[in-house]
């Protein structure tokens, strides 16, 4: 089924290559910052880590803008997405769902080497919502199996932004719901600030990527498995068109952030939670906690909302929230469509250790028989 598609892709790559060749001249004529200047900027190589973890970074930028180099390898592979062993023929950035969170500062240059190994079966690309022009980079990064490409874009806007694969036409939603999305966080150079301009700092950051999956079922109602993404395509599109996901999960699988993989924090620690959803609306809620400062839209030039109970992440966007844990215990971080949280999988846990604060809460009377006097 990919023959014609691939032919189109290849043609597309050729014409894009021609277009790229002409860009430097045009840019040099119009922009103050020519490639020659960028070449003199300091460069920093970052090794990405799999979510929910985030690579080490400065909250406040040190020095001036730099070029931050990243490398991501696209991996097509089967991934188990629930405790019943249901398998998704997944497509991933760097082997994880979601792809890794990239962190830079405003006015830095993001330089991504994107690799599509020979072992993959399809062309892929990357569309950065944080970037400007070129279909978010999608038009300049379309690569076939066995190819790599390097894209540079300037991080001109501070915030959390989704990136995703967008190889054209019906491939776009399919690649996204097969796992190909992630996020980049562009921090203000002076760090995060509250509505009064006071600094907001975090002790740790976690990245939660939410995905909706659409797994076809057989006549008996059991989930089907396939030998390759191509074989799953037709059935999957049919389920996708019904707009009812079979799974809504955090970090690629039901239970990916619970039990052994539960997130950890201590009373008094401030955690920044970055939450992305590349395809579908969601509404994060921390059971027993709040959002202290919430950039629901994810864009740091807007003042954060405060003391939220639940916040809204629009499909195709990423948001950020800080919370300082005040009480020990187990916290469930859920999509507060509770059907999606409990039945479909969108639940993470924080295990928080520390001293209990009776002032904030206490059980005045343990469960006991109803008083009859």
């Amino acid at each position: 089924m990919f023959t014609r598609r691939q032919a189109l892709m290849t043609a597309g790559v050729a014409s894009v290559a021609a277009a790229v060749a002409s860009i430097p001249a045009a840019a040099a004529a119009k922009e103050a910052v020519a490639p020659a200047d960028i070449s003199r900027l300091p460069r920093q190589k970052v090794t990405l880590v799999a979510p929910p973890y985030v690579h080490a970074h400065d909250q406040v930028a040190k020095g001036g803008p730099k070029v931050v180099e990243f490398t991501m390898k696209i991996e097509e592979k089967p991934v188990v997405i629930d405790e019943e062993g249901t398998t998704l023929q997944a497509m991933t950035f760097n082997g994880s769902i979601p792809g890794p969170l990239m962190v830079v500062h405003e006015d830095d240059y993001v330089e991504l080497t994107l690799i599509n190994p020979e072992s993959n079966s399809m062309p892929h690309n990357i569309d950065f919502h944080a970037s400007t022009g070129g279909l978010g980079g999608g038009a300049l990064t379309l690569i076939n199996p066995g190819e790599q490409t390097k894209l540079r874009f300037k991080a001109t806007r501070a915030g959390t932004f989704v990136y995703h694969c967008a190889p054209g036409g019906p491939m776009i939603p399919w690649h996204v719901v097969s796992g190909m999305s992630g996020a980049i966080m562009v921090l203000p150079r002076e760090g995060l600030k509250d509505e009064k301009g006071e600094p907001v700092r975090y002790d740790k950051v976690v990245y939660i990527g939410e995905n909706d999956f659409y797994i076809p079922r057989d006549e008996d109602g059991n989930f089907k498995s396939y030998d390759s993404p191509a074989e799953s395509y037709a059935d999957t599109v049919e389920v996708m068109r019904g707009l009812v996901p079979t799974h809504v999960v955090f970090n690629g699988a039901k239970g990916a952030l619970t039990g052994d993989n539960a997130l950890k924090a201590k009373v008094g620690e401030t955690v920044l939670i970055v939450h992305s959803q590349a395809n579908r609306d969601t509404r994060p809620h921390l059971i027993g906690g709040h959002g202290d400062h919430v950039w629901e839209l994810g864009k740091f030039d807007n003042p954060p909302a405060k003391d939220l109970e639940t916040w809204f992440i629009r499909g195709g966007s990423a948001g950020a929230a800080t919370y300082t844990f005040l009480q020990p215990g187990i916290y469930a971080y859920v999509n507060h469509n509770l059907i999606e949280a409990v039945e479909l999988g969108a639940t993470a846990h924080f295990v928080v250790e520390g001293d209990w604060n009776d002032d904030l809460m206490m059980q005045v009377q343990a469960p006991s028989p109803i008083a009859t006097n």
Partner: protein
Amino acid sequence: MSFSYTWIEAVAAASVSVVTAFTGIAWWNAPQMSTTFETVLVSPGAFDFEPTGEFVANGAEIDPGDRPVVFRRPIEIMKFQVTLGDYQRCVSAGQCEAPNTRYADTEAPVVGISYLDAEAYADWYSDLTGEGWRLPAPEEWAFVAAERFAGEVFTRGQDPSNPAIAWIRRYEEQILLDREPDPVIHPAGHFGPNSNGVADLGGNVWEWTSGCYTRIEQDSDGNSVGAPYQNCGIRIAEGVHRAYMSNFIRNGKSGGCAVGTPPDHLGFRLVKDAGFASGLARLGQTVTKYLSH
């Protein structure tokens, strides 16, 4: 049976102790049976059993410790869990609701069964055979399960000044159990017999017992304070670990704020009360049902 809280269970226990001599003797004409079950007769004995239910002292949950339980008469119990094939006969007879399950192996245990379903089956099968079949009490299940019994695998004690400590510890204990869910339905006998010759105990199908949720207040000397609280809308299922579940639940599931390891599947097996005793026990059950409606 020293920790049964319903009088009906006391009746059942008493009746078992009276009439073991009649075991296997049909002293009235049994109706035509479409299903027979292989049973195992577990010899009388004594063992230490940590009572079910919650024990509370000074507003915090405490560990009640083990207590001796004596069975003076044998327990006759189904060797295998009730299978889908067995259960379907009750569904066909219009006396049981269809199970909440998607597989079709009639030789495998029926799963997707609530406590109420299991009770309906026991009633139907008792009526069909004229025998006294019922769910085992937790103590009976534990005694029969012997080395396969797990019960309360999580620490129960709690620090009154910081409820989160026990909460987190239980969460970590669940992780330490390190048990991968096993959703596949296996044929009866897959998990093999235990030392008593009873098959599949502690496999991936949890079994309903007749035990109800209870809560007992204790003073500092360990004496009960006031009447125990009992809720029979919540029943006890035994398996890899003990699960307290609402009596209408057919599939245990975790998620959201319910921080717990759910049973993979819910099924059941029955014990048989002998001859005269069963008549007494069934009379008791009928009376109980009448009173509770």
